[in-house]
Symmetry: C2
Subunit: 241 residues, 2 copies
DNA sequence: CGTACAATTGAGAATCCTCAAGAGCAGTGG
DNA sequence: CCACTGCTCTTGAGGATTCTCAATTGTACG
């Protein structure tokens, strides 16, 4: 997770294939890099943007991680997702021109700011950038569908298992270990995200530990048996249908 | 819900302001209309596309309604949403080139087929069409976030109330009554969508009826007190956080 | 070393699910 | 026209999962 060392913009960024530049020509990547307004560093618990703010930019995560949440009328937070390096944040704002959720850094983090006006302009000039933007939006939608499935049709144990597998797979994509990683979020954040209570998360992690499938040391997670963890997710609870 | 009378393409379609043509110039709408491959009619329970199919088109609902669902490895269906006239279907396929869910007609229905190749080409030519596409994708994402919130943080009663309010608002947008409408889906579909069992849906509807907030006659729903229904949704359950 | 926060663990309670039976309604065929 | 079948929806009773409340342990930081 420690990639905070100074890095040049898109052309030399090792995340570029996971991010917007994927599939672009060299000169096109350079044009994209030219509009990256700044590589804004954030410290833990710093807010990237607030729900309701006018959206002038998208953000690409370069390092660290983020938590996005919606505040309801009572002021309760409701976590809708976590963002890792290479992922785009702020896509939900594309319709109304303001962010529909807030996003906060879970740890020291770095983002590349992409001013929407310039990004849209560039998309008009570079068709493959537009294609990539659309692809990323489609991915976001597909991933949201997975979350809907998770919340609507899974038991507590399956949710936790799925959550760990999601992280495992995303870390793997980033070139990190898929079986050993640190959670950057608190249990409370996980619970909120999964529609569970913090106690249930704790107990389910304890159970998975007791069976030997995982080892938990505070925020540190080690997956001892990836296959067994996947097996937990498979058997869909006999819900109606 | 009965709009099956023959209607011309986009320029004279009364849904155009709710659909892709919104914000386009007259001649641009004409260009869009020209690529609408066909107005395909479907009968109830007919499948529009199957999960896994190569995605060659997006579909705009012109009449009737649809149910989208994901099939998991056990063959269980998991409903991820319903589509009403003016809404675009198939957006989840934009990333991988194949549909990640299946979509089926709930009743006799009509769709406008938009071949992706031509749509993308046209987006390149008409910037405001591209803007509108992006806006629709952003809306889809924001609406998925609402579903995540619904499933993760709401009690059975709140889910039912929210579901009814969502439909109410969408029918209202379409120019129909916001307090009286027919459900085009079975209880089973509602239950599956809301992550509940059919029995719980039935019981909650019965309770709302007993309090007098709604009147239920089979598929027919009448909302007697919209304000009270909204009040049910507000008080978020004191979940962790 | 003490405070604040995060996480675990336990016991009882509530919501929602499971299983089962019955009612309402549409379509079919004698 | 009516019984029959099939499907949808409702209603009831009991049980399981998850939540709530409360106390304790663990960890980070000044």
């Amino acid at each position: 997770m420690d990639q905070l060392s100074p890095q040049a913009a898109c052309p030399s960024c090792k995340l570029s294939d996971l991010c917007l530049p994927y599939g672009l020509q060299k000169n096109e990547v350079a044009q994209l890099a030219a509009i990256v307004k700044s590589k804004r560093p954030l410290h833990a618990d710093e807010i990237l943007y607030r729900q309701g703010d006018a959206s002038r930019s998208l953000y690409a995560v370069k390092a660290g991680s983020f938590r996005s949440f919606i505040l309801n009328s009572e002021g309760d937070e409701q976590v809708i997702g976590f963002s890792l390096p290479g992922e785009l944040i702020g896509l939900d704002a594309l319709q109304y021109g303001h962010y529909t959720c807030s996003t906060i850094a879970l740890e020291t983090a770095l983002v590349c700011e992409l001013p929407l006006s310039q990004l849209n302009e560039l998309c008009g000039k570079i068709p493959s950038l537009q294609v990539q933007m659309t692809r990323i939006l489609g991915k976001e939608i597909a991933s949201d569908h997975d979350k809907i499935l998770l919340l609507g049709h899974r038991s507590a144990k399956e949710r936790i298992a799925t959550f760990l597998l999601m992280l495992s797979s995303r870390y793997c994509t980033l070139g990190f270990s898929s079986t050993e990683f640190n959670l950057s979020m608190r249990r409370q954040d996980i619970a909120n995200f999964l529609g569970l209570t913090i106690e249930t998360v704790s107990r389910q992690l304890a159970e998975l530990t007791k069976i030997g499938i995982i080892t938990v040391k505070q925020r540190g997670i080690q997956i001892n048996d990836l296959a067994l963890l996947k097996a937990i997710v498979q058997p869909c609870p006999p819900l109606a249908y």
